[in-house]
């Protein structure tokens, strides 16, 4: 079963320089939530952005990952006029 760290690593590989957060919603490693903030999404529709993530996850989406709550952004949302701090880069 792909755990969040492994999923995150594959998404970082597919989207170099992106901010990727993956959390396990149920503790069973098959209901995950992912937030991907990547410049590679620029100019793409939401559907295409999600398809890019699904393509990166490949065969995991055909069973091992039963459910993926996915949020994609091209950049961090601006709040109170400044750029929001991107989470730790580790």
């Amino acid at each position: 079963m792909p755990n969040p760290a492994v999923v995150r690593a594959r998404l970082l590989e597919a989207f170099p320089g992106a901010r990727v957060d993956v959390t396990d919603l149920t503790g069973t490693e098959d209901h995950l939530q992912a937030v991907v903030v990547a410049a590679q999404f620029a100019g793409k529709s939401r559907i295409d952005q999600h398809k890019m993530v699904y393509a990166a996850l490949g065969d995991w989406m055909a069973g091992p990952i039963h459910a993926l709550a996915l949020t994609t952004r091209t950049s961090e949302p601006e709040s109170n006029g400044g750029n929001r701090e991107i989470g730790d880069g580790a």
């Binding site: 939401r46 559907i47 999600h50 398809k51 699904y54 055909a62 459910a67 993926l68 709550a69 996915l70």
Partner: protein
């Protein structure tokens, strides 16, 4: 995908202004994500058709290939793929879904009277 299943899918997608391929039914959604979209469509106040992909394994497999989308639910409006739970939720929250559904309803209105 066989031509038969492709035309079945197209018939379902084009045969209804708003159609949701989901796990379960409106009355008995079998998955939280499917239920979320059913509730959103009810809030939007738009008539919609549902297809229970748990009861139709052939459609369940073929639609993923047809739309190049690996999960359910899948919402189609006016023959076009709108998204799964995440995107439909975002569109609902931003008001974009209401606009899109209003356009479809307006286009369908003359046919009603």
């Amino acid at each position: 995908m066989s031509e038969d299943i492709r035309s079945r899918i197209q018939g379902l997608i084009k045969g209804h202004k708003v159609v949701l391929f989901m796990k379960g039914t409106k009355q008995f959604p079998a998955c939280g994500f499917s239920n979320t979209v059913v509730q959103i469509l009810k809030k939007e106040g738009v008539p919609f058709e549902t297809v229970n992909i748990l009861a139709d394994g052939e459609i369940r497999q073929a639609l993923k290939e047809y739309s190049n989308w690996p999960t359910y639910p899948q919402l189609y409006v006016d023959g076009k793929f709108v998204g799964g739970c995440d995107i439909v939720t975002e569109l609902h929250q931003s008001g974009e879904l209401s606009k899109e559904l209003a356009v479809v309803a307006a286009a369908a209105a003359p046919a009603l009277n």
